[in-house]
Subunit: 550 residues, 2 copies
Amino acid sequence: MNWNTLQQNRAARLQRASAALGNQLDGKSLPAARIADLLHAVLECGDRVCLEGNNQKQADFLGHALAHLNPERVNNLHMLQSVLALPEHLDVFERGVASKLDFSFSGPQAVRVARLASAGKLNIGAIHTYLELFSRYFIDLPPRVCLIAAEAADRHGNLYTGPNTEDTPAIVEATAFKQGIVIVQVNRIVDTVPRVDVPGDWVDFVVQSPRPYYIEPLFTRDPAQISEIQVLMAMMAIKGIYAEYEVQRLNHGIGFDTAAIELLLPTYAESLGLRGKIGKHWALNPHPALIPAIEAGFVQSVHSFGSELGMEDYIHARPDVFAIGPDGTMRSNRAMCQAAGHYACDMFIGSTLQIDLQGNSSTATAGRISGFGGASNMGADARGRRHASPAWLKAGKQAREGRNTIPRGQKLVVQMVETFREHMQPAFVEKLDAWELMEQAKMAIPPVMIYGDDVSHILTEEGIANLLLCRTDEEREQAIRGVAGYTPVGLARDRRMVENLRDRGIIQRAEDLGIDKRMATRDLLAARNMKDLVRASGGLYQPPKRFRNW
Amino acid sequence: MNWNTLQQNRAARLQRASAALGNQLDGKSLPAARIADLLHAVLECGDRVCLEGNNQKQADFLGHALAHLNPERVNNLHMLQSVLALPEHLDVFERGVASKLDFSFSGPQAVRVARLASAGKLNIGAIHTYLELFSRYFIDLPPRVCLIAAEAADRHGNLYTGPNTEDTPAIVEATAFKQGIVIVQVNRIVDTVPRVDVPGDWVDFVVQSPRPYYIEPLFTRDPAQISEIQVLMAMMAIKGIYAEYEVQRLNHGIGFDTAAIELLLPTYAESLGLRGKIGKHWALNPHPALIPAIEAGFVQSVHSFGSELGMEDYIHARPDVFAIGPDGTMRSNRAMCQAAGHYACDMFIGSTLQIDLQGNSSTATAGRISGFGGASNMGADARGRRHASPAWLKAGKQAREGRNTIPRGQKLVVQMVETFREHMQPAFVEKLDAWELMEQAKMAIPPVMIYGDDVSHILTEEGIANLLLCRTDEEREQAIRGVAGYTPVGLARDRRMVENLRDRGIIQRAEDLGIDKRMATRDLLAARNMKDLVRASGGLYQPPKRFRNW
């Protein structure tokens, strides 16, 4: 029996590359113009190919080259990709180069994913949470070839990712040690990299891309767009949840709801005497909206999945807060930060599009196959967790009080929504659109972002429903209806039962929390626009152009 | 405000080291005889220090040096350590150098941990599962100094870990990027390392230790010690669970119970036509007992937490199966493999010491504070998982059938025990010893290894209890009593109810599975002793001396 097929296959690919490129190959590096030759040489039909579509950083030069290969020579690739962000990511399917996809998130391309899937051009393996997808790279989905992006490489192939390390180390490790081929696009080739993020002997080919890799400032929210309803909800979150459970380690989702919380820490939370008591350690990208809280001394540390455009100088000047290399720039790591979000945080709080009567929430809507990125991982109770904290113990106690069950802790998982989203679509529904999407996309089960039994609190402008304290399915349903406002779900509440839940503290209105709604104005935000954020950073934060309106 | 305390503190430590060592410091390397000087210079009282006590590989030279520092100069260290395996690991507390401990597992030292804790010399922060502890290194417990072990280093500090990579990359990354000090003991200093496992610019000091680091062959089980009861249980596991759910991706615990399963794959499972249908992808250390299954073509891939002594040549000759570097040796990675065990596996199966009437299981017993290593992580339902497989869907369906709940999958978590363990101690108890240990060690909640609501099956010599199918607490209790044999818990069963559970397939006896108990002999094992394993490997496996009796 031949136990050496992978190494032999690798050698054959390298030989084909060497034959195709000849003396165009200078050590590991080749001219950008020859990238198609390299890909045609090393790829085989049906290969599992991991393209570094990240949440932010994109191996866009390689992705473009891949999409434009000759589908008669290279086809039926099985793409592994955490994020599908660019048109090229779908072009590979449109053009017949690839036919199968395992992924995590496709936000901007969700409609096209659904269309290609129903046209039979894209066969979806499965949708994963990030860490789950990386995990499979090491078990049953090792990439044969990976196409990644870094800031710089030296002639040995040592890679410098700078602050946007993201998925790179996990992808390369999974590929290189299963005899796969590692191809990287870099912004520049240098004599000595500022630091080594990925060792050179894990890397096979380096190509200097004609343009720097594409990167998206995904986590920037302009405070000018935060509404007073969001201010009110943020006040309830801080007083009713952060303070109530003494939440010190946490993750925030993307969005204006949680940006509002970040901007109330140095004002409202400070006025409640919460500095040093809540929000000390974060698993979070460097959100610009966190700057005022950092400056006010609320934040002790931030470990990041990836970086954020414009935050480079600020991060550099706050090395106590962020994870910094010897070169002075950040090191991020999506795999470890997702693990940290799962196991080292007491709370996940984020937004959603729809919530049903059991508290199941989903951003999946008919005609859009978008995936959930990291939310399903961080928004799940970490049942393997064994270390205690006040927040975790209190949540676990509330969920189990009066039940004949062994005591354990529980994660706080908060879903924060306004009762109506854009176009007056109700956020609360009898049945999730996920059911319809399941039918359309022929999934085995409906794509739920966070399951109801993992959700501890639902927070709307009408109040907080504490699902931990509910003891029956009926109570849970009425607790949800009780914060669902004027949506049909909210209007169909059993008023007596909702009042009873309120008496028991399961539902809390702003007034029950001692919050004066008149205080809920934008004046409470520590920064009211992008310029304020820049000012709060002492001029160190440099927002991307599209966020500058002065 | 000074935002730069960590970098400044790091610089001060490096300067003290340089002053203490003078020209004894050759680049990053220092003579072994000067290790105490280095540690006295860089350590500060109260430091968080991560000592690489791994599951297998031990930074024993550094650990010994640390334990023998002058406690008047260095004291109150806060030790972070995944495993406490060596006497030195407790000596640091005994001698007053350290006072606080956050850890995962202390098997061989569990009694001494309990004694030191109750004597007030060791203050336990918390007990964690591995990935959870690593996660906290990135959030609220970054080490100021880490003391790690590698196979070799070059003069730039590039590290070669060889097959025993284990915790090293996670520890170093967490330390280096928070301006901590990274000190490594290596077996040898070389001109060029065979491959780079950790980049040199993440490493501060290298010391060639007088002896190679200590390493323990933890995962070797001599087939000669497998009993016929274990053969019977393994047959039930294969036919009643592996085949029933088509389990392709899995993790096995340590122990003779699961070693028996591994050794029945090429015999019993083969006779059932299960090759290619079960046990294809493993998150597992290179268990010698897996050799016959690998040779028989059952196993497609193995990704490992760490390596196993004696398996080096065999692994080298089976590069398609293991994760191999360009140097031909394995790369392991405990953090990524634990993530894979959590998210990419359909099943965890392992043993325990005690199970209560709700199915909670624990290896914690009074007077021993041992921790659970990785079991709590891999033996927990991965509620963030979103990709489907037949095993996961079927388990999830069984758990939810007839319930008004949204469909989802579930992990198979199997606890495999004989009803009586050594010294005729019953494995089934009304109340776990964990409750008593909680009182003794002043823990907030009892230390449970795997919670009952995460357990899908309990397997004993009396049969399989499928807890997924139980619909009430009473059914679950009787299902457990129904496989608890002649233990007091088993004898107190409600016979009629147990027969009813058996009629419904919730309890299955060997005969219900069509297993002829007379076949359950040691003849069915693919290897009956260590020599058989060596033979099965074609002479490639070289067991450590203590396992050689020929």
